[in-house]
């Protein structure tokens, strides 16, 4: 009788221990999943920030080039019309001065913005890549929830962040030359 009772208690203890082990494992997975989701959100934010900096840099460069082209055309008009343009449009020199001033101020803005981008991109873009990578890893380990959509989304973010990093390296190294 006592032997049976002891065996029953042993079996119960083993079951309790294995259940506790299972719950500890599940808790670890839940924490990993939570961290994965936070890192996924952070990677999305940093990728958007990197994308915005790249797009703004490209847009300001395009505007600067367009402004330069307009100025060149305005100067060419003087040569082509042999100065008659000053008679047709009396305020022509004023227009040229305005365009030139806008270009000077925009070049100052570009250099300032360029400095800012150069300062922050080595931090934010690699951070976006690291966060996306960590989130994918953590979410893959969490078996308590279905994270397929988030894993796919983080993978897309990872690819975009890598493309941004390459684009920034190309843009900034091109600018340095």
């Amino acid at each position: 009788m006592r032997k049976d009772e002891a065996q029953q208690i042993d079996e119960l203890t083993i079951e309790k221990n294995s259940l506790e082990n299972a719950s500890v494992k599940e808790m670890r997975m839940l924490h990993l999943g939570h961290f994965g989701k936070i890192f996924s959100n952070l990677s999305i934010f940093f990728t958007i920030l990197s994308l915005a900096s790249v797009l703004t840099l490209i847009m300001t460069l395009v505007l600067f080039l367009l402004g330069g082209a307009v100025l060149l055309i305005l100067l060419m008009v003087i040569v082509v019309t042999l100065g008659i343009i000053f008679v047709i449009i009396p305020n022509y020199w004023g227009i040229i001065t305005t365009v030139a001033n806008a270009l000077t101020s925009s070049s100052g803005y570009i250099s300032k913005f360029g400095e800012l981008v150069v300062k922050i991109w080595p931090v934010i873009t690699p951070l976006a890549i690291v966060f996306a990578g960590i989130s994918i890893l953590f979410l893959c380990f969490d078996k308590t929830q279905n994270h397929t959509i988030r894993i796919v989304f983080s993978s897309v973010v990872l690819v975009i962040a890598i493309i941004i990093l390459i684009a920034l390296i190309v843009l900034l190294s091109g600018g340095a030359k």
Binding site: N21, E26, H31, I38, T144, Q145
Partner: protein, 167 residues
């Protein structure tokens, strides 16, 4: 040698922990979205335990949630918590005779039992309930209080620093 074929259907976003005779078993997802497993045993009956844990029920939950708060940049990038705090707690005893199939389906209705059991074998229902964990709800409120306190502390620190800079 007996074999238990266990299939779990109707689980939405979560994957519950399933133990057969106290041991957690690994499941495979089939093409229809349900999960299934096969367990071989010498015993004539096995006990199936199914439960879903809540993260907030972990031992060091305050520390974990403070860590989440800081890593997610003061909770800005944190995940929205499931405030329902619903727990599944199910236990069945299945009599085995050769190969035995047991199909378990999660019920969506609140009034019904947690799982609907389909099997040709004799299945004894020991526990089959879903309930709102009141302790988890209480812990949720504690976490919310801590978060608010941390936000207030952060706000006061920021204002103090700003004033020091201005003066």
């Amino acid at each position: 040698m007996n074999e238990l074929k266990l299939k779990l259907k109707g689980q939405r976003n979560f994957r519950p922990t399933i133990c057969v005779d106290g041991k957690a078993v690994k499941f495979k997802k089939n093409k229809f979205g349900s999960i299934e497993t096969k367990v071989a045993t010498e015993k004539n009956s096995v006990e199936i335990t199914i439960y879903k844990h809540l993260e907030i029920k972990s031992k060091l939950y305050i520390l974990w949630y403070i860590l989440y708060f800081f890593i997610s940049i003061f909770g800005i990038f944190d995940v929205r918590e499931d405030k329902k705090c619903i727990v599944y707690d199910c236990k069945f005893k299945v009599e085995l005779n050769g190969t035995t199939s047991v199909d378990l389906t999660f019920n969506t209705s609140k009034d019904e039992a947690a799982l609907a059991v389909e099997s040709e074998a004799n299945v004894e229902e020991i526990k089959n309930v879903t309930y709102v964990d009141q302790e988890a709800k209480k812990r949720m409120k504690i976490i919310l209080g801590i978060k608010i306190a941390l936000w207030v502390a952060l706000g006061i620190t920021a204002i103090t620093l700003l004033l020091i800079k201005l003066i």
